[in-house]
C-alpha cells in the first residue's frame, strides 16, 4: 500500500519533474551558449581600424600629410585618439621616414614637409604611406597614396567694374610626367572668416583655368584685407592643392570697440535711477505719513470721547 502510494505520488508528480528537468537542461544549454558567445566576443574584441590619408599642398608650398584613424563597432564609426601613426615616402625607390605623430581627438595625425624640401626634384610623383601598428585590441592599418606634382596660381583682376579671381592649375600626367592643364576638377574660392572659411564661388576647370567672380561687400580687417584661398580638394592624382593670398578687396571694418562709459562708477548716479529712487521713496513715505495721520486722528477722537 505504501509502495503503491509512492509510485502513485511519483506518477502524479512526473509531469512536474519532467518540466523541471527540461528547464534545468535548457538553462544549462543557455549557460553554454552564453559561454560560447563570451568566447566569440573575446575573439571579436580586436577591432578593425580604418585609415584615410590625404595630401595637402598649401599656398605657401608647405605640404601636409594627414592620416585619419577610425574604428567601427557595428555600424558606428569612432575616432581613435592618442595613437601613434608613422609616415614614410618612397622617392626614387628610396624609403624615407617622415616621422611619427599621435592622433588628436578627431583621429587626425599629421606631419608637415618643409617648403624648402624639393619633393619633386628628381621625380614627378611620390608614394606616401601612413601606418598604424595596432595593439591587443585594435588591428593594424595602413594607407598609401601616390601624389603627382602640380601647381596652382591665382590672379586677382578687376574688369568692367567687376572683380574676378583667375585660377590656373597645371599638373603632370600619370603616364609620362608631362606638364598638362588639369581638367574636370572643381576649384573653390574661399575667404577666411573667424571660425571657418566662407565659400565665395566654385567652378569646374576648363583648360586648366577657372574665372570666379568676387563680391565687393565682404568685411575685411581694419584696412580691408581679405585672406583668399583657391583650392581643389582631394584630387585623385594631386591630392588637395591650394593657393592663398592676402588682397585688399574687403570693406574696412574697425574692430576696436570702445569701452562703454562706466556710468555707475561716476560721481553722479544716472538720472533715471535718481528719478526712480525718489519716486519709490516718496511713494512709500507718503503712505507712512498717511497712516500716522489716521492714528493721530484716532488719538484726538479718543481725547474727545474721554471728555464726554
Amino acid at each position: 500500500m505504501k509502495k503503491y502510494n509512492i509510485i502513485n505520488c511519483l506518477s502524479s508528480k512526473l509531469p512536474f519533474l519532467l518540466a523541471f528537468l527540461f528547464f534545468f537542461t535548457t538553462l544549462q544549454g543557455f549557460a553554454q551558449d552564453a559561454e560560447e558567445e563570451e568566447t566569440e566576443t573575446e575573439e571579436n574584441s580586436v577591432y578593425k581600424t580604418t585609415m584615410r590619408l590625404s595630401y595637402i599642398k598649401r599656398g605657401d608650398d608647405t605640404k601636409m600629410l594627414l592620416a585619419n584613424l577610425t574604428y567601427k563597432i557595428d555600424k558606428d564609426k569612432y575616432n581613435l585618439s592618442g595613437f601613434e601613426v608613422a609616415f614614410t615616402m618612397m622617392q626614387n625607390d628610396e624609403k624615407i621616414d617622415l616621422g611619427t605623430a599621435f592622433t588628436n581627438e578627431n583621429g587626425d595625425a599629421f606631419v608637415y614637409i618643409s617648403p624648402d624640401y624639393q619633393l619633386f626634384a628628381d621625380t614627378f610623383f611620390v608614394d606616401f604611406n601612413a601606418k598604424f601598428a595596432g595593439n591587443d585590441t585594435l588591428k593594424r592599418a595602413s594607407k598609401s597614396a601616390t601624389i603627382y606634382n602640380s601647381r596652382i596660381t591665382t590672379d586677382f583682376i578687376e574688369e568692367d567694374s567687376l572683380r574676378f579671381v583667375k585660377v590656373k592649375v597645371i599638373g603632370v600626367t600619370e603616364e609620362t610626367g608631362d606638364t598638362v592643364d588639369i581638367e574636370e576638377a572643381a576649384v573653390m574660392i574661399l575667404v577666411k572668416r573667424l571660425h571657418s572659411e566662407f565659400l565665395v564661388g566654385e567652378e569646374e576647370l576648363s583648360g586648366g583655368r577657372a574665372n570666379i567672380e568676387f563680391p565687393f561687400d565682404l568685411p575685411g580687417d581694419s584696412i580691408g584685407n581679405l585672406i583668399v584661398t583657391a583650392r581643389i580638394e582631394d584630387h585623385e592624382l594631386y591630392g588637395t592643392i591650394e593657393s592663398t593670398q592676402i588682397i585688399q578687396w574687403g570693406t574696412p571694418v574697425s574692430y576696436n570697440v570702445e569701452d562703454l562709459p562706466p556710468t555707475l562708477w561716476t560721481d553722479e548716479a544716472p538720472a533715471w535711477m535718481l528719478i526712480t529712487f525718489w519716486i519709490i521713496i516718496f511713494g512709500v513715505w507718503i503712505h507712512f505719513f498717511w497712516a500716522i495721520v489716521k492714528v493721530v486722528k484716532l488719538s484726538k477722537l479718543g481725547k474727545v470721547h474721554q471728555k464726554l
Binding site: 548716479a269 529712487f277 519709490i280 489716521k294
Partner: protein
C-alpha cells in the same frame, strides 16, 4: 471702554504679569550666551577679522549667511502679518501676531551680522555721510532702515487695541511704568466705531505698503549678490529666488514659533491643528515653486561654459567638497518637505513642525552654498594664493557669535511676550463669542 474683559483674555494675564523663576533662569542662560557673543565681538574688533575664517577670497562667511536668512525671516514675517490683515484671512488672525514678532525681532538682530562682516566698522558712518545711490549697498541700507521703521510702526498700530485693553485691566498686577507704556501706546483708543474705522484704515494703508516694501527690500539684498560678476550670483533669477526663499523659510519659522508658543503659553484653543495643516499646504505650494526656481537657477548656470562656473559646479557636486552639503540642503529644503506636506495623511502638528525645522536648516545650508563656494571660485583668481586664503572654514568664535545671535532672538521673543499677548485679544473675543 465699552467692551469687558472676557475670560479668555484673563488666560493671558499670568503670562503678562510678574515673571516666574523659570523665566528668569531661562533669560539668565540666554544672557550668558549673549555675553559670550559680546566678548567674541570685542575680541574681533580688537584683533581684527583674523580671528574669523574670512580672508581675501571668502570675505563673507556664516555672518553673511545669517544676515540673509534673518532678514528673510523678517520680510516673510511682514508679508504674512500684513497679508493676513490686508487680505482679511480670518483663519490666520491668531498667528498674525507671531508673524509680526518674527518681523520685528529678526529685523532688529539680523543687520548686526552684516556689521560683523565689516573689516572697518569705524567707517560705517560713511555709508550715511557719502551714500552712492548707484550702489546696491546703499539701496539695502535704505531698505533695511525703512522696513525697520515701517515694521515697528505697523506692529504698534496692530497693538493699539490690545494696549487699550491692557490699560483698562484694573486687576493686572504689573509695574507702573508698564501701565504708563500701555496708556501712551493705546493712543486714547476706546473702541468707538470712528476709531475702529480709523485704526482699520491705518492698518490697511501700512499693510498694503509693507507687502511691496518687503519684496523690494529683499530683492535689493539679492542684488548685492546679483550685481556682482561672480558664478551663479550674476543671474536675473536671484531676486525672485531670494524673495521666494524668504517666504518659504519664513512660513517654516512661523510654524516652529507657533509650535513652541502653543506649548509654552497653552494656546491650543487658538492655534489649532488646522493652522498647521493650512500652513503645511502653503509650504507645499511654496516648496514646489522653490524647487522649480532652484532647478532653473542651477540648470541655466550649469550650461555656462566659463571655467569658474565649471569649477564651482564640480565643487558643489563632489562629495569630498560641498556635495554632501548640497544634497543635504536639497533633501531638507525640498524633497522631504514636499513628501510630508504633499501627503495629507502625514499632516500632523509634529510632522509639519519637524519639516519646518528641516526647511530652516536646509535653506540656511543652501544660503551657505550660495555664498562660500562662489567666493572660493572667482572668475579672476588671485595668482598663487596661500591655500588658507582660498578655503573658508568658520572658526569657533564665528559660531559663538551666531549662537549668541540666536540667544538674542530668543531673549527678545521672551521679553516681547511678557509685554503683549502672543494672540491678538480680538481673536480671544471672537473665540468667546463662538463659545456662547
Amino acid at each position: 471702554m465699552e467692551h469687558t474683559v472676557n475670560k479668555n483674555i484673563e488666560k493671558f494675564v499670568p503670562y503678562l504679569e510678574r515673571p516666574t523663576g523659570k523665566w528668569y533662569l531661562w533669560m539668565g542662560v540666554l544672557f550668558v550666551i549673549f555675553l559670550m557673543g559680546v566678548y567674541v565681538l570685542i575680541n574681533q574688533i580688537v584683533e581684527g577679522q583674523v580671528i574669523t575664517g574670512m580672508r581675501d577670497y571668502v570675505f563673507w562667511g556664516i555672518y553673511k549667511v545669517n544676515f540673509v536668512i534673518f532678514l528673510g525671516f523678517s520680510y516673510a514675517g511682514t508679508l504674512i502679518g500684513a497679508g493676513i490683515h490686508f487680505f482679511k484671512i480670518r483663519w490666520g488672525h491668531p498667528i498674525s501676531r507671531l508673524a509680526e514678532f518674527i518681523n520685528i525681532i529678526f529685523l532688529i538682530i539680523g543687520p548686526f551680522f552684516i556689521l560683523f562682516c565689516m573689516g572697518r566698522l569705524d567707517r560705517l558712518h560713511y555709508l550715511f555721510i557719502y551714500p552712492r545711490i548707484q550702489s546696491p549697498i546703499t539701496w539695502d541700507v535704505i531698505a533695511v532702515v525703512t522696513d525697520l521703521i515701517f515694521g515697528l510702526v505697523y506692529i504698534f498700530i496692530t497693538f493699539i487695541k490690545d494696549f487699550a485693553r491692557l490699560r483698562d485691566m484694573e486687576n493686572l498686577k504689573i509695574a507702573n511704568w508698564r501701565k504708563k507704556i500701555y496708556r501712551i501706546f493705546a493712543f486714547n483708543y476706546h473702541d468707538t466705531p470712528e476709531q475702529q474705522k480709523l485704526l482699520r484704515q491705518a492698518t490697511n494703508i501700512l499693510g498694503a505698503i509693507l507687502i511691496p516694501i518687503s519684496i523690494i527690500a529683499y530683492s535689493l539684498l539679492a542684488w548685492i549678490f546679483g550685481m556682482t560678476i561672480r558664478p551663479v550670483w550674476h543671474s536675473s533669477i536671484f531676486a525672485p529666488l531670494f524673495v521666494l526663499t524668504a517666504a518659504y523659510s519664513g512660513i517654516a519659522m512661523l510654524i516652529v514659533v507657533a509650535f513652541f508658543y502653543r506649548k509654552i503659553y497653552k494656546l491650543e484653543d487658538y492655534i489649532t491643528p488646522k493652522h498647521f495643516s493650512n500652513l503645511g499646504y502653503v509650504l507645499l505650494y511654496l516648496g514646489l515653486f522653490y524647487a522649480y526656481f532652484t532647478f532653473s537657477q542651477y540648470f541655466t548656470d550649469w550650461y555656462n561654459i566659463s571655467k569658474a562656473s565649471q569649477a564651482l559646479y564640480s565643487k558643489l557636486f563632489t562629495f569630498s567638497e560641498y556635495g554632501f552639503m548640497f544634497w543635504s540642503a536639497i533633501g531638507m529644503s525640498i524633497i522631504i518637505p514636499l513628501i510630508v506636506t504633499g501627503i495629507p495623511k502625514l499632516h500632523s502638528i509634529k510632522s509639519i513642525t519637524l519639516v519646518s525645522g528641516l526647511i530652516i536648516v536646509g535653506t540656511w545650508v543652501k544660503q551657505y552654498l550660495l555664498v562660500v563656494p562662489t567666493l572660493e571660485t572667482p572668475f579672476l583668481p588671485i595668482q598663487d594664493p596661500m591655500q588658507e586664503w582660498v578655503k573658508y572654514t568658520a572658526t569657533l568664535k564665528e559660531w559663538v557669535l551666531i549662537i549668541a545671535g540666536f540667544a538674542a532672538i530668543l531673549m527678545l521673543f521672551s521679553i516681547v511676550s511678557k509685554l503683549v499677548p502672543a494672540i491678538p485679544f480680538e481673536c480671544t473675543c471672537e473665540e468667546e463669542k463662538n463659545n456662547h
